[in-house]
């Protein structure tokens, strides 16, 4: 590593930054807690602020409309510790993930083909754009009418709803990739497989990660609607049960459990995935001096 730095200084990239740092003011430090702690602190702070606002509202409105935050949280705890929480959550998550997986498996190849071959683009553009405007609720109704109250209709409704969004994101991403790299891969006779895996897909990583995030959010919204239509398990079903007994506390508590699960997926799994697949990119430092 020392050698690398020496080489960089020799070619004048690091050299100026080093001398500037020592000649003018010392660089601003990240504060006594360090960067990571500050980041976590701000995230927790924003959640606490939300809970505080909720508490204020609960003082104004009757508890049947807005229950107290801590009463709702104790309801969350009782949901998680008693009953079949993991079965209900598991059923919903399975529907989200299977539907999402189906959409992904179709969208990635289709998006790449649309982005690289003109005639496929012309052919698939209208249905994809039309699909984007179709509300998830209508897909849910259509799929249940078609497949009945089966798991298949849940998977299909999720997949069909998020498929246009995923495809558009990957299609547009493919159109913006570096054409010089494609020429390079042609000059070295790369196989079609190698062009996709080594040259095109890595340039789509940011688009695919963004698509995963949007896609999961959208999938959860659709699956709850499907479950409300008469499924006998899942988070959507539990929310309907809360609604039927007019228990605002139960509705909110179930919504919160799902939010927590999604946050864990977002920050745990997707965040981890993002760090793995973007290791090659130096960190962007835009605003600090």
């Amino acid at each position: 590593m020392a050698k690398l730095e020496k080489a960089l200084v020799a070619e004048g990239e690091v050299g100026s930054a080093v001398s500037e740092g020592s000649a003018i003011a010392p660089r601003r430090k990240a504060g006594p807690w360090g960067e990571a702690t500050r980041h976590i602190g701000l995230s927790v702070g924003s959640i606490l602020a939300l809970i505080f606002a909720w508490w204020i509202l609960s003082l104004i409105f009757p508890p049947t409309l807005i229950p107290k935050p801590w009463e709702t949280f104790s309801e969350v705890i009782s949901i998680v510790t008693t009953g079949d929480f993991f079965l209900e959550m598991g059923a919903t998550l399975r529907r989200v993930l299977v539907g999402f997986g189906i959409a992904m498996v179709v969208s990635i190849p289709l998006g790449i083909i649309m982005g690289t071959l003109r005639s496929f683009e012309s052919f698939f553009e209208p249905p994809v754009i039309l699909g984007l405007t179709m509300p998830g609720l209508i897909w849910a109704v259509l799929m249940i009418m078609f497949f009945g109250l089966t798991e298949t209709s849940a998977y299909a409704a999720v997949a069909v709803t998020i498929f246009p969004m995923l495809t558009i994101s990957i299609w547009q991403g493919t159109k913006s990739i570096d054409k010089d790299l494609i020429d390079m891969s042609r000059a070295f006779h790369a196989s079609p497989w190698s062009k996709v895996v080594d040259v095109i897909l890595p340039q789509l990583v940011s688009h695919i990660l963004a698509a995963i995030r949007y896609g999961l959010g959208l999938a959860w919204k659709v699956v709850v609607v499907v479950e409300m239509f008469g499924f006998s398990n899942g988070v959507g079903y539990q929310v309907v049960r809360g609604f039927n007994t007019f228990s605002m506390k139960a509705v909110l508590a179930w919504a919160i459990t799902f939010l927590v699960v999604m946050i864990v997926i977002e920050f745990g799994f997707i965040g981890w995935l993002e760090r793995i697949v973007t290791r090659w990119r130096p960190k962007i430092v835009a605003w600090s001096r």
Binding site: K3, L4, A7, L8, E11, G12, E13, D180, L181, D183, M184, S185, R186, A187, F188, H189, A190, S191, S194, D198, V199, P202, V205, R279, W280, R281, P282
Partner: protein
């Protein structure tokens, strides 16, 4: 061992209005064996197009290009061409060494040779310690060296270089030119270098082919009187040769402006 022969190459580019623009006007020349041939001409004259035609990335309307190789006649396989671009054009998400194996895989080199070749050519460009590094953590000059190693690692009959120094700063470019010259001499590599820089052509080229402004045709071909490793930019013989090239190019530009 190998050389490139271009015979009466004619190439058009379609214009927006549907007419054709003549880019290459019956271009004919041969490169040297065992050495660097420079294609020298003003910017936009069609030098890079000529390189793309030779590499097969673009077709010709008339005429032909051919890589003549003793080796190739024996085995009847397609000639191998290495490419070094103006920008390094590396796969930034792959380690330095994987950028080289990407080329080896594409050219169908057996896997058993990869390790040895990667080591050999990264050593030649002086980057063997950086084989596990990602390109974006290297300087511009080092990235261009990786590009050179990638062009060489497939052991091409001919190495095609498209203005590989024009985006580097003066000192880095000078250093890399010197190393490229030495490496090509040591490997007895046939190479074709496109440039618009007269001094670079005089320094790098064993033969210099001068192209006119568009439509490109060949106006002069010079052979360098100095052997590759005896070219000193301050030597009077070098300066004399450079002047000769410069006059030939200036004559063209003046004619084009009149």
């Amino acid at each position: 061992m190998a050389y490139v022969r271009v015979e009466k190459a004619v190439k058009y580019f379609p214009r927006e209005d549907g007419t054709d623009m003549l880019v290459l006007d019956t271009v004919s020349f041969e490169t040297k064996e065992y050495g660097i041939t420079c294609l020298l001409g003003p910017s936009g004259c069609g030098k890079s197009t000529l390189l793309n035609v030779i590499s097969g990335l673009e077709p010709l309307e008339r005429g032909r290009t051919e890589v003549v190789s003793n080796h190739q006649e024996a085995e009847k396989e397609e000639p191998r061409l290495g490419y070094v671009f103006q920008d390094p054009r590396l796969l930034n998400w792959k380690h330095v060494e994987d950028n080289l194996t990407f080329a080896l895989r594409g050219m169908g080199i057996p896997k058993t040779e990869w390790e040895e070749r990667v080591h050999k050519y990264l050593s030649l460009v002086g980057l063997v310690e950086f084989r596990k590094q990602y390109p974006l953590y290297l300087s511009g000059g080092m990235r261009q060296r990786v590009g050179l190693a990638r062009g060489l690692v497939i052991e091409p009959e001919v190495l095609l270089m498209d203005e590989p120094y024009s985006k580097l700063d003066h000192l880095t470019a000078r250093n890399l030119r010197e190393d490229t010259l030495e490496i090509c001499a040591r490997l007895k590599q046939t190479a074709l270098l496109v440039t618009h820089d007269v001094e670079e052509a005089a320094y790098m080229g064993d033969r210099i082919v001068i192209l006119s402004p568009r439509p490109a045709h060949i106006t002069d071909i010079f052979d360098n009187p100095l052997p590759p490793l005896e070219r000193d930019m301050d030597d009077s013989r070098f300066i004399q040769f450079k002047k000769k090239l410069l006059q030939s190019v200036l004559k063209l530009i003046k004619k084009a402006e009149v």
